[in-house]
Structure formats: structure tokens, C-alpha cells
Amino acid sequence: MSKPLLEIRDLNVSFGTKDKPLCVVNDVSFSINPGEAIGVVGESGSGKSMTALSILQLVPTPPARVTGQVYFDGKDLLQLSNSELTSIRGKEIGFIFQEPMSSLNPVMTIGDQIDEAIMLHTDLSADARRVKVLELLRLVGMPDPETRIDVYPDQFSGGMRQRVVIAIAMACNPKLLIADEPTTALDVTIQAQVLDMMLDIRKQYNSAIMLITHDLGVVAEFCERVIVMYAGHILEDADINSLFASPKHPYTQGLLKSVLTLTEKQHRLYQIQGSVPPPGTIKEGCPFRPRCPVRMDRCAVEMPPMKSYGPTHVAACWATAEGVE
């Protein structure tokens, strides 16, 4: 296998004081290969956004404490200074935020906002950059780019703004694109447009993508591999077909069973009992234990290690490891 593009090792993010830490990301380790589309799935509070933000040091420290290593192209991003990071943010790694309404500057034309990234990272002349901006607008399917380039964000709908955000992220042809819930704020038909467009871009540019979402449907259509997070821990990491066909962790199993589809008719939905624990309430053992249908005594004491179930499938569960179904 080729060398991973991004490798996260033992990432921990915590808030609160030294004596009473609130851990929101716990010992997260995974890697992304060049060109790979990986989905990070989890409910609110699972730590998926925090993981993504810490990759680029976008979590303010303090109040947060971030430890671990994030290797990108051989460099540990967590050790870099702000100026060193500037050459990576937006150039090597692009970021798409969830809220298309608030992630654009309302007093800059969209052309200038896309140009900003190109200006920072290249030596192109103003004319050449404008050509490049128009090219990007066409890439993201903006109708009539020549006039839209000089327009302010408030004149755009949510879907169009998200296209602009994606154009900014793609401006320097990044090796890795991190997309945090890129379609969650959009309507279904607009979500379909944006996902289609992102698939096209991926084919053209061959960027690796880390797609953060709570929507298993989006993951199934977009990604090759899935990481399932829960209360700050990775519970399962598998290629997409293996995960959907035979999920190993009881949480993943429950999620897949309770997800609503357009096709299957169930009389009563499967439900996972209880709700996600607030951060800091579960200090030892497996975080899913209070809601788990197959929990054992051991789960309260020790967090289960990742166990392999095939070449591209790992899960952290004591019960599954012992063959309890």
C-alpha cells in the first residue's frame, strides 16, 4: 500500500481544567491515502468536527488542549507555527464548512474571495488569476460566471453559496479536501446537485476527501471508507461495502437498523435506547456501554482495543471480539 497522505496518531482534544478535563476527542488514530474518499460518521457530540478542525490547528488553544500527531506529507501539523501552517491551509488542504451562510465574507465579492486563496499561494498575475477564478466557478457549476464573479454573497441562494465555498477550497488544487457537513444545510434537490458536482471534481482532480456527515445515505454514495465515531472515540473503521454489509460494532449495527430508507417498510423502527452521553460523563471503558444491548462487565473497566475483521475492517468492541451477537 502506498504511503498515507494524512496520518493521525493518538489525537486527543480536551477542554476544562487539568484536574477535570472534558475529553471530546479520545485517542483517535486513522490515516487517509492519496485520492481516497473517507467518511466520518457520528451523531452530534461525537467529536467528528473537532477531529477535523484540529488537523489544521483550527481549535483555539487554550481553552482546548490538543495532543497527538497529525502527519501530512511527513510533517507533524500540530508542531507547525502559524506562518508555516498558512502555506498548507487552503493550498495543500482545503476546508469546506457546513454553513454556507456564515462562512463567506458579506462585504467581498465572491470573485475576490476565491481570488484570495490563489493570490496567497501562487505568483500569478491579476489577469491570470481572474481567468483561474472563472475556471473554478465553471467547475462548481455556477451559471453565468462572468457576471456572477463580481457579485456579493447575499445575492446567492444557499446552494450557490456552498458552490462558492467549494470553489475557494478547490482554488489551489489541494491534495486533501476536508468537508464538514457540506450539504446538511441544503434542500434535497440542491444537495443532489452539490454532491454530483463534488463527485465530478473528485474525478477530475483526484483529491483525497474527508467527508464529515451524520447522513449514512450521503456516505454510501460518496465514500470508499467509513469511520464511525461516538462520544469522541472511533468505534469502527471499514471499507464501505463491508461496513454496510456486516457492521461489527453494536452502535453501527443499531445506526444502520434505525436509519430510514425509501424502500424498506418496517412497522416499528429499531431504536437505540437512551442518548449520547454529554462529554466527560464516561471516563472509563467503552462510551457506548450505557446504551449497548450486548454490554459485558468488562466494558465498564476497559476501552476495547481495535480488532481486525478482514483486511479493511476494524472495530472496537469486547462483545464482537468474543463472538457475542
Binding site: 440542491i190 451524520h214 449514512l216 454514495e221 430510514l260 430508507t261 425509501l262 424502500t263 416499528r268
Partner: protein
């Protein structure tokens, strides 16, 4: 089955006096000539994208806002012309569950106060101990321990708050509930809990639900019949199974095919609609959907298609209404 709610040619135009477009005031046609019935004990789902008028429709049925045209009747009684006092008596029979479990509960009141408010205002509470008894019953009914009744909403998670909102709605034994996106603010694992709860309660209490949602998968699970709205109009309405198996309106078909499918082994042919939903201040002439419609012809820009019954109970407003059997991957099994 008898009719509980009937809407006849219902319409609502909002006028914004602050925006003047030359001599014309800015008008938003939020709901346009909508007619349908809801049977007793039935769930009618209204689906559509943001700005299609589905929430306005729900509020019109409860007369939380006044209609500019048309009538709503409940149990044969026309609500549109009732006086304030008469309407107040009717309100006991109609309740609402809101989308945002964080914004719809007063942060300063206890759960007991929140839940008992509708009962208090209709004089259904005898004394203090009766109140606590009823609140305890209702909390148990929605799956929360009765000891929580003296807590404040901030001590609860989103799903638990939605349970409190549901307890409040059913406290007066309504015959009709408008649920406006009741699960869309919740996580997947919590959505299933709330949907199951609402279905159990509907079975035991027998109320009808207008279920407003943008999520077709949720609607498929909860609805008996489905109404699809686009820019204030119902473009298709019919029994759930017919709508999902063979949508007749091109918009319904596109909506169904756009929803991401949680199964990586199925290849789906997706119809991707071009463009955005037009602004409701500037609705296109003729069929409102024609700008994005893949099969629009000349007639669509001049004539607004009338709703036609193509099968018993299944109506479509399209000049070229035809069955659009969706791809095999999506066909119900």
C-alpha cells in the same frame, strides 16, 4: 373513515409593506389554492423544500395565522369565521409539535408547568395534586421518568425535550396535531425513538396528524397519505405507496431520486434538477415548476395545470402527468 379536517381553496399571501417594488408592494404567495382532507386517525405528510409553504399551511389549518382565501373546517365546522371565543374552544382539539426542541420550551419554567399549561388554560386541572398526577401520567406516557417534572428544559437532551413537547400537545386529548418537522433537529438514533413514540400515541389516542417534513424517508415511514408541495401549491397528493412506487409529477420523481440512499451496493440513477427554487415573491407564470422541469413544454408557461385525479385519491397537477416508475434500486420491496 370520516373526514376530520378539510381545507378548501386555502390561500395565504403575505404582504411586506417595507419593501416596495415601484408601485407594487412585495407580496409572497406562500400558499396558493390548496384543497385536501384529513381523515380521522390518519397521518397526512406534507413534503417539500424550504420556502414551499408547508409550515404556513400547517399554521393556516390551526388558524394561527389568518388565511387570505378559502376555508378550513374541522368536523364539518368552518373554522375560518369563528369568533375568538368560539375558536378558543376549538383549540382544545388541535395542538402543535414544533421543530426546534430548544426554542419551543420556555427555559424559565419547570417541565410540570410547561406540560400542564394547555390543561390549565382549558380548566382541566382541579387542584395541585391533580396537576402533578396528570403531569406524571403524561411523562410516563412519553417515556420520561415522572421525577423529572420539577426540572427545567436545559437539563434535558434534544430528544427528551421533544418528548416534553409531545406530552404538552397530547395533554388535552386533541383530535388533530400539526407536527412541524418534529424529528429533523434530532440525531438519527433519537429520530427513531420519537417516531415510534408518536406512532404509539396515535394508535392509543386516535388523533390525526399533519406531518410536515422535508425528509422523504421519514415520511415514507409515518404517513398514510403524502402531499408534495412546490412554491405554495400541492403538485401531487395521494396514498403513500402509490406516490413512492409511481410518482406522477416530475417534481415528486426528482425529489425521490435525489434522496441519498444508505446502501452502497445499489446504483441509483439520479435526476438532478437544475437551478434553484424560484423566489416566492416572483413565482413563474403557468406551472411554478416549469423552470426546473425536465419535461416542460410551451403550455406550461401559459397555463397553470389543474389538479387531476388519475387514480382514486391520487391527484396530480401537471400537464404531462404520467407514471414515472422509479429505478429498480428504489422500488419498494
Amino acid at each position: 373513515m370520516s373526514v376530520l379536517i378539510e381545507a378548501k381553496n386555502l390561500g395565504k399571501t403575505f404582504v411586506d409593506n417595507s419593501i416596495r417594488l415601484g408601485p407594487k408592494r412585495a407580496e409572497v404567495r406562500a400558499v396558493d389554492n390548496v384543497s385536501f382532507q384529513i381523515m380521522k386517525g390518519e397521518t397526512l405528510a406534507v413534503v417539500g423544500e424550504s420556502g414551499c409553504g408547508k409550515s404556513t399551511l400547517g399554521r393556516l389549518l390551526l388558524r394561527l395565522i389568518e388565511a387570505t382565501e378559502g376555508h378550513v373546517s374541522m368536523d364539518g365546522k368552518d373554522l375560518t369565521n369563528l369568533s375568538r371565543q368560539e375558536m378558543r374552544q376549538m383549540r382544545k382539539n388541535m395542538q402543535m409539535v414544533f421543530q426546534d426542541p430548544f426554542g419551543s420550551l420556555s427555559p424559565r419554567r419547570t417541565v410540570a408547568q410547561i406540560i400542564s399549561e394547555p390543561m390549565d388554560s382549558f380548566g382541566m386541572i382541579r387542584d395541585k395534586s391533580h396537576r402533578r398526577e396528570r403531569v406524571a401520567e403524561l411523562l410516563e406516557l412519553v417515556g420520561l421518568p415522572a421525577i423529572y417534572m420539577d426540572r427545567k428544559p436545559r437539563q434535558f437532551s434534544g430528544g427528551q425535550r421533544q418528548r416534553i413537547g409531545i406530552a404538552r400537545a397530547i395533554s388535552v386529548h386533541p383530535s388533530f396535531i400539526v407536527a412541524d418537522e418534529p424529528v429533523s433537529a434530532l440525531d438519527v438514533s433519537i429520530q427513531a425513538q420519537i417516531i415510534n413514540l408518536m406512532q404509539d400515541l396515535q394508535e392509543s389516542e386516535g388523533f390525526s396528524i399533519l406531518f410536515i417534513s422535508h425528509d422523504l424517508a421519514v415520511v415514507r415511514h409515518v404517513a398514510d397519505r403524502v402531499a408534495v408541495m412546490y412554491l405554495g401549491r400541492i403538485v401531487e397528493i395521494g396514498p403513500k405507496d402509490q406516490i413512492y412506487a409511481a410518482p406522477h409529477h416530475p417534481y415528486t420523481e426528482a425529489l425521490l431520486s435525489a434522496a441519498p440512499h444508505p446502501d452502497p451496493t445499489k446504483e441509483i440513477e439520479r435526476i438532478v434538477l437544475q437551478g434553484d427554487v424560484p423566489s416566492p415573491t416572483d413565482i413563474p407564470s403557468g406551472c411554478a415548476f416549469r423552470m426546473r422541469c425536465p419535461i416542460a413544454k410551451d403550455i406550461c408557461s401559459s397555463d397553470n395545470p389543474k389538479s387531476v385525479e388519475i387514480m382514486p385519491g391520487h391527484q396530480v397537477a401537471c400537464h404531462f402527468a404520467a407514471p414515472h416508475p422509479i429505478t429498480n434500486a428504489q422500488r419498494p420491496t
